[in-house]
Symmetry: C2
Subunit: 205 residues, 2 copies
């Protein structure tokens, strides 16, 4: 039973249900009993497997971070093809199942400010910085006066799609990470990256 298929152990089921619930409501507003109920298991078993609710949260953090790192490494090696721009957020969405709770959990992780989220942010930035350096070396991207800030700017332009996706969908009337919205968004970003967004008159001010 235990080693039949690893991903169907009760432990893994509990972890995945907790991941889903944490992603939607946040860890503070999810109870051990809710997780146990969603996993079809007793609350005591949750504690038995993870020591405490906080221990479970740490395991989920680690799991999501490792999924993220896997995708980040593949992106760094150029294994992820982005259809329009060079959006990693878009590629992330494409690589995961459509109903995956990972993006929403990543959002919380990145914004929470605790160590796991900080680490994820740092790694994303490191890859982003390296990618920008490659593009500069390839003569495609201009280095600019402040390359580190420029790399951060490019990264954050990507990251924000993950963070304010719902709010943008609300005001734009189209999901900026959906089929139509992603195209429109990528086209506009590319246009700004190519031509800037000031007119010649504006530039000469």
């Amino acid at each position: 039973m235990r080693s039949a298929n690893d991903d169907r152990t009760a432990r893994a089921i509990i972890r995945d249900r907790a991941l889903e619930l944490f992603a939607v409501h946040g860890p503070a507003r999810v109870t051990v009993r809710q997780i146990a109920g969603a996993a079809g298991v007793s609350p005591a078993l949750v504690i038995h497997h993870f020591g405490s609710k906080e221990g479970l949260r740490a395991v989920v953090d680690e799991h999501v971070a490792s999924v993220f790192d896997g995708l980040l490494q593949r992106a760094a090696r150029g294994e992820l093809v982005t259809s329009d721009g060079a959006s990693f957020a878009e590629a992330l969405l494409r690589e995961l199942p459509p109903d995956s709770p990972v993006p929403a959990y990543l959002r919380r992780l990145l914004l929470a400010g605790d160590s796991a989220g900080t680490e994820v942010f740092r790694r994303w930035f490191a890859v982003s910085r390296a990618t920008v350096e490659e593009l500069v070396a390839a003569g495609v991207m201009a280095q600019g006066r402040d390359p580190v800030v420029r790399a951060a700017f490019v990264m954050v332009n990507d990251l924000m799609l993950l963070l304010v996706r719902d709010q943008l969908a609300d005001v734009l009337g189209v999901d900026p990470l959906g089929p139509e919205g992603a195209t429109r968004w990528a086209e506009e970003v590319l246009a700004v990256y190519r031509d800037g967004l000031l007119t010649p008159e504006g530039e000469s001010r």
Copy 2:
């Protein structure tokens, strides 16, 4: 008693302490007793004044949203001078006391996804869109192929400073909304807005 030692009513004190605690830890992880303790008041008084913890949260939401709206209106009228770029986030920070919990609370409000935050986001977007239209009409900014998306792009570039300020400070080594960081960030954003960030070779791809 109310005017003896403190010019502020206990109700206002409770609201402000709750605002501070909610901003740092999030409403779900702050207890009524913590708020009462911080305000130097009994837990029962908190309920007496606001009906419930949820009622208190709603009042704080409304209060922060109204502070935000006030600043947004002033910005829309051009009353807020931004030193470097046209960053509203930067102006917001400058107009508030340095230790104000409002920016941190706004961050939570914007990301929480409930109605109060959605409204704030919509209003910010409306002002952002109007500002972009003015700049286009003045011949300073290029309208682009997709003006709505372009306005959203500009707005979100600004908004992100509020949302990932701490994470950026961590990887950049300098607070992007502090004296030095704001200048570096604004210069780089302006450079991209003016010249784009692709080289001529990159453009001709």
